[in-house]
């Protein structure tokens, strides 16, 4: 049996800020219904890659195909249409502080659909129930804990029943128990709605629980793509180092530092 067509295909992507190339030769595809993790250390380019995938930035070259359509070459109207099938869960949740939790979740439905207010109200309550936030509809975001704000962010990302959901560092800054609860929620959302999920993270514990496949980024390039088991078998030094949680070689770092000051090798 042939595998289904990928939902996302990234081809030879290059992203630059001015002259500085921050992502180069990026190639991978995401299958429908899988949880695809983009993993990498600080400064590896993973958040920049995510911004390109959701259309918040444009690459210098290469293509991103969403459902077979070139997302990078579309008009803004066409891109907006595709973005309606996407949900984005921002790292800081990005809830509007002046709106209640329910109004935050309802906002995309009020802005982008012609649904009746009574329908929106029920949909909002369903989404909050799904993420375990029943009963806090009228709270302001500032009245929620960090974990609850993340859940509210997921509820809002789910408001339009997206086909693809993107999570930027979902468990960053959370204690291990709350983070584990979020991992479970991401899995439940994926399995129930057959959601294609792209998760940017550097948390190995989360990766072990949620990832179907992983793309490891290092210095703006793909160090490897595969299941966790496959990546554990590779001999790529950075992947080995990342998985083993080993620090950089400090002797080499010291030598580079000395060179930069003295110009002496």
């Amino acid at each position: 049996m042939s595998s289904p067509d990928p939902v996302i295909i990234v081809e030879d992507l290059q992203v630059a800020f001015g002259e500085k190339v921050v992502l180069d030769q990026i190639n991978f595809s995401v299958q429908p219904g899988e949880i695809f993790v983009i993993l990498g250390g600080s400064g590896s380019g993973k958040t920049t890659l995510l911004r390109n995938l959701v259309g918040l930035m444009r690459p210098r070259s290469g293509r991103i195909l969403i459902d077979g359509k070139d997302f990078t070459a579309m008009s803004s109207v066409e891109r907006m249409e595709i973005r309606r099938s996407m949900g984005m869960c921002f790292q800081g949740s990005a809830l509007l502080g002046s709106l209640s939790v329910a109004d935050n979740v309802a906002l995309p439905l009020r802005e982008h659909t012609k649904l009746e207010e009574s329908t929106i109200e029920i949909m909002t309550r369903i989404k909050l129930e799904l993420v375990g936030l029943s009963g806090v509809e009228e709270y302001l975001p500032s009245e929620l804990s960090g974990g609850m704000r993340k859940r509210a962010g997921i509820a809002r990302a789910m408001a339009m029943d997206p086909k693809i959901i993107f999570y930027d560092e979902p468990s960053a800054g959370l204690d291990p128990i709350v983070a584990a609860g979020l991992d479970e929620l991401i899995r439940t959302m994926q399995s129930t709605f057959n959601l294609t999920s792209v998760v940017v993270t550097h948390e190995m514990e989360s990766v072990k629980i949620i990832a179907d496949r992983v793309c490891v980024l290092h210095k703006g390039r793909v160090a490897g793509v595969g299941t966790l088991a496959e990546l554990e078998q590779t001999d790529h030094p950075y992947i080995q180092q990342f998985f083993a949680r080993r620090p950089d070689d400090s002797d080499l770092a010291d030598a580079a530092y000395a060179r930069s000051l003295t110009d002496i090798d």
Binding site: T113, S118, I122, M160
Partner: protein, 102 residues
């Protein structure tokens, strides 16, 4: 999505096929909320041919149920497909609806 309404002496059967999503659910809502007050005893929504239903579909069914309660009518889901049941179960709303096989 395809909708067909069939009024019998006791019950109005609304048969829905295809996808119920953000774009199609307003049409279903209109048909359901119009049928409920006019039905003799109640309304049955045949959901055997639904391939996909999102939360706007769930909300539409909840609104139909609310309206039926207000009008003292029955509101039954008939032969809901797996796609329908899965979403109702996740929303923990499967138990609030009366369901029959056919």
């Amino acid at each position: 999505m395809r909708i067909e309404a069939d009024k019998t002496a006791d019950e109005t059967i609304i048969t829905v096929e295809g996808d119920i999503d953000l774009y199609t659910s307003p049409e279903l809502r209109k048909v359901v909320l119009k049928a409920v007050p006019k039905a003799a005893i109640g309304v049955g929504i045949h959901l055997g041919g639904i391939t996909y239903m999102d939360s706007s579909g769930v909300a539409t069914l909840v609104e139909g149920l609310r309206s039926a309660k207000e009008h003292g009518k029955a509101f039954t889901l008939i032969a809901p497909s797996t796609a329908v049941m899965k979403v109702l179960e996740l929303a923990r709303l499967d138990s609030i609806f009366e369901v029959r096989s056919d």
